[in-house]
């Protein structure tokens, strides 16, 4: 447990990005919260801010959130320069205020990338991810056409590695943290998840080529091995997947000639 000066409540100054809509100009606004319980989650702290704004007759801060358990991938802000904030392997909904100190100033911004236009305040449009999945992030298995589930054994090690990659929640922190706004960690996680399994093998080449083309078409940048994506990823997805993506891509382009 991190010390909070022996107090159960702390005072905070918040610099929050406010932007009325996609085409509006945005700016930081400063708010003060006097007694934030250290047991709150970060999003509950934003709830308290919004209640305060409502009581003052002002519009609350828009932010995406849903499960508040770190699995749906809805939430995500840049907190003091870090996507999802200071803790490793933690979405911002699982970050608790005991991590902060009395008197701290917290700057809160949306995930910024050309391919993630701001919708309002801290909410961005991440539908580019869905379009990338739609061109190849699947196994073409028609409903009803499947053989018995145990017909094809999968070595446990491969299944575990596939699961590691599959645990991506599609939040977009990798893009927000990358200086090039690349989506390579996201794309590579799906390419690895499916490519490692025998069920995904028949479409392995087509998948990687289609997904990389879609990724480029959406305006994401390229990977220059900075590694910020892995550091920001709340699910600990490894950059090793990007290396695998590059190998698969080269292999597929040679084979397709």
């Amino acid at each position: 447990m991190i010390a909070t000066n022996g107090k159960d409540t702390i005072g905070l100054t918040l610099n929050v990005w406010r932007q009325a809509g996609p085409d509006a100009e945005g700016a930081f606004e400063t708010y003060h919260l006097n007694s934030v319980s250290t047991h709150m989650s970060f999003l509950e702290m934003l709830d308290v801010l919004n209640e305060q704004l409502l009581a003052e007759g002002r519009e609350p801060v828009a932010f995406d959130h849903d499960c508040r358990e770190g699995i749906c991938g809805s939430c995500g802000v840049v907190l003091n320069g870090q996507a999802h904030g200071p803790d490793r392997d933690t979405t911002v909904c699982q970050l608790h205020m005991r991590r902060f100190h009395d008197g701290d100033t917290i700057t809160i911004e949306p995930f910024r990338a050309e391919a993630f236009p701001v919708v309002k305040d801290l909410v961005v449009d991440r539908s580019a991810f869905d379009r990338i999945i739609g061109v190849g992030g699947f196994v073409s298995a028609r409903t009803g056409a499947a053989p018995d589930a145990n017909a094809i054994p999968v070595p446990k090690e491969e299944a575990d590695l596939a699961m590691d990659a599959a645990s991506c929640i599609g939040c977009g922190a990798c893009v927000a943290s990358c200086p090039n706004a690349a989506a390579m960690l996201f794309v590579s996680a799906k390419v690895s998840h499916l490519g490692r399994l025998p069920q995904g093998a028949p479409e392995r080449d087509e998948r990687v080529v289609a997904m990389v083309q879609a990724m480029d078409g959406e305006g994401f940048g390229n990977c220059t091995n900075v590694g910020e994506c892995e550091a920001a990823c709340p699910k600990g997805i490894s950059v090793g997947n990007i290396a695998r993506l590059n190998r698969d891509f080269v292999r597929a382009t040679i084979r397709r000639r």
């Binding site: 508040r68 699995i71 869905d130 599609g170 998840h193």
Partner: protein
């Protein structure tokens, strides 16, 4: 003998149980392959049920329009299911079968579900696992490469397939990817960030929906030949629940007010292992997977009000009350039984932690027996999540847990075809009432959502499309204009209340009424008081809610206000249902109806029915009323008996 007072035709086939679904499928009309592209199906919701249905229907060749409340269909609340999915594969060779899964589900539901539906669910369970594996769902495997199973939620066989603690996530991604394949190839059209605000009924048949674009505020009309509601459960009526924040009853409720009966609304599931409430700011509750009860032991101090830390309470001063009361099932008793037992301990002054509203779930003995590494491999992610939220290390001190609202067995009434009382309106997954009776077994929600979407509705929607005359209807039909007008005036009304209470604060008050009087234990006196309190709160909502912002952009407060307004109405019929059901069964525990040992006392003679409520005064929120319609339940295979886990 219970007599149906309304023509509620369940359309359940007759004949031997194991052949009913086959027979029914054979009897259903088919749509000619060349005609499928002429029909449009509107799918609302993209959780397991919605995504699997949308993918399967588009594969069959229908035009599919699919609506999703999130920015991406991958975020539906199915994603949060941790534990697993049941199937009767019997891979572990421990005696499982379709018959046994069927029997366990009927019994687990306390004999308040239809046998035919449950048997079909058990039958298709195996095909679901095949389908998911073929999609690349990375289920846990053994070293030989075959699939692993575990025992879950009180089952005495190991029939649960799982993907670490993220089974719901992986199954949803499988269905989502299958759906996105159809979207990517243009066979399905995806409308994200849309909220369904009404159903359009033309000549008695559901022919469209009116949705709000949550980003632009635009009100859109969509016409089709069938409407599928896959919009989840209504646990958020309690404000605090394990449901995600966006989970709501609005789509189902608007359908209810257009004529769809709402069945067994009082059947809610309180999950025994959640992290206790810590303060007034609490926005939701977090579930700790039930799988923890496989190794954790539940206890409280024998002495009431004992404030010593757990480590200082000697063994003989601990009451392992589940093991004591239920020697054969012990810590693995079903959810309703475990939840009530925890409440009894807290009510009796034996609760632990700062609020006294918690019991211990202790891994000390399991760690001594198996070693910390083994426990870490099984539950590492759950322990980590617990520590993040509570700042306590469960490897060193016992977890504190308490029951929380988790799932709703009730929902829109559907027949064997999953069709509601509004023809052409189908309801899938948690949004319907069909398969779990009065209590759902662990790892059965994922099974039902996917069964409905992959393997039931693709056949039964076809029968509707092939069997009914469906004249061409488009969005210029006057019915659409009328419904859109009603939707707009409701939004205007919400925005013009101009009160001073935040929507959340009113929602919290509603939740408190429901938790106190229509939660884990109910009695006539409390329920009657709750009806009055809910009506008064509903009136206050429409006078004093503070809904800021406008209708023409992203406005979370407006969205929440619309949903809370519907919860305020639903709450009343939940209470009426709980009042009507003068028995205890499953998750519904009436204090007046219990044995000397405080176990539930069911009344099959008088209450073996589905309570399907129709909305009578559908106009102003102030003068709503409901009528009870009964569908008698008959049991031909599993003879109703007293559930005993002793």
């Amino acid at each position: 003998m219970i007599v149906a007072n309304t023509a509620l035709d369940s359309k359940c086939p007759s004949g031997p149980m194991e052949g009913r679904w086959d027979k029914h499928r054979f009897d259903l009309k088919l749509v000619n392959p060349a005609n499928k592209r002429k029909f449009k199906v509107l799918v609302v919701g993209t959780g397991l049920a919605g995504a699997s249905a949308a993918a399967s229907l588009a594969e069959l060749g229908y035009q599919v329009d699919v609506f999703c409340i999130h920015d991406s269909p991958r975020r539906a609340h199915s994603i949060a299911a941790q534990g697993g999915i049941n199937a009767a594969k019997n891979y572990p060779n421990d005696g499982d079968s379709i018959q046994r899964l069927f029997y366990d589900t009927v019994k687990g539901g306390d004999f308040r579900a239809r046998e035919s539906n449950v048997y079909r669910l058990a039958q298709v369970s195996n095909t679901i696992i095949d389908q998911c594996v073929a999609q690349g769902v990375p289920f846990a495997r053994e070293y030989g490469g075959l699939l692993d199973n575990r025992s879950f939620g009180g089952a005495q066989v190991s029939r649960t397939f799982y993907a670490r603690g993220q089974t719901g996530q992986q199954l949803l991604l499988g269905a989502y990817q299958a759906m996105m394949r159809q979207v990517g190839s243009g066979k399905a059209k995806l409308y994200p960030r849309r909220e369904m605000l009404d159903v359009v009924v033309v000549d008695g048949v559901a022919r469209g929906v009116v949705v709000r674009n949550l980003v632009t505020g635009e009100i859109e009309r969509h016409a089709g030949d069938a409407v599928l509601l896959c919009t989840g459960g209504y646990g958020n009526v309690y404000f605090l629940s394990t449901n995600a924040k966006k989970c709501n009853v609005t789509a189902a409720w608007r359908a209810h007010k257009r004529g769809a009966f709402f069945a067994n609304p009082c059947f809610t599931q309180i999950h025994p292992t959640c992290i206790p409430v810590s303060g007034d700011y609490q926005s939701k509750l977090t579930l700790m997977s039930e799988s923890l009860r496989n190794d954790g032991r539940v206890w409280v101090p024998k002495k009431g009000g004992d404030t010593r830390p757990a480590s200082e309470i000697p063994e003989d001063e601990r009451d392992y009350y589940l093991e004591r009361r239920y020697p054969s099932f012990g810590n693995l008793v079903p959810r309703d039984v475990a939840s009530r037992a925890a409440k009894a301990q807290a009510d009796g002054g034996h609760g632990v932690g700062p609020t006294g509203m918690a019991v211990y779930l202790d891994f000390r003995d399991a760690i001594e027996r198996d070693g910390e590494d083994v426990i870490r491999a099984k539950y590492g992610n759950l322990f980590q999540m617990y520590e993040k939220i509570t700042a306590d290390d469960p490897y060193k001190v016992p977890m504190r847990i308490y029951p929380a609202v988790h799932y709703t067995m009730g929902g829109l009434w559907v027949d064997y075809n999953l069709e509601s009382t509004v023809p052409g309106l189908f309801v899938l997954g948690e949004a319907n009432f069909s398969d779990h009776g009065a209590n759902r077994l662990g790892a059965s929600a994922l099974m039902q959502g996917l069964a409905d979407g992959y393997f039931v509705v693709p056949y039964t929607v076809g029968a509707h499309l092939a069997g009914r005359a469906l004249p061409a209807v488009d969005t210029s039909h006057p019915a659409f204009a009328e419904v859109e007008g009603e939707v707009r005036s409701r939004i205007d009304r919400l925005l013009s209340i101009g009160g001073s209470s935040s929507v959340d604060s009113l929602h919290r008050q509603l939740g408190a009424i429901m938790w106190d009087h229509c939660g884990m234990a109910r009695n006539a006196e409390g329920l009657k008081r709750a009806v009055d309190e809910v009506r008064a709160l509903r009136a206050r909502f429409w006078e004093d809610a503070n809904v800021v912002g406008g209708a023409a952009d992203l406005n979370d407060e407006l969205e929440k206000a619309g949903r809370v307004a519907d919860f305020m109405e639903l709450a009343e019929v939940m209470i009426l249902d709980a009042l009507d059901r003068e028995e205890s069964c499953g998750g519904h525990f009436r204090e007046e109806h219990q044995t000397e040992e405080n176990e539930a006392r069911r009344d099959d003679e008088n209450y073996s029915y589905v309570a399907a409520w129709s909305c009578e005064g559908a106009g102003d929120p102030a003068d709503l009323s409901w009528k009870l319609n009964k569908e008698p339940l008959t049991f031909e295979v599993v003879k109703p008996s007293t559930r005993s886990y002793k």
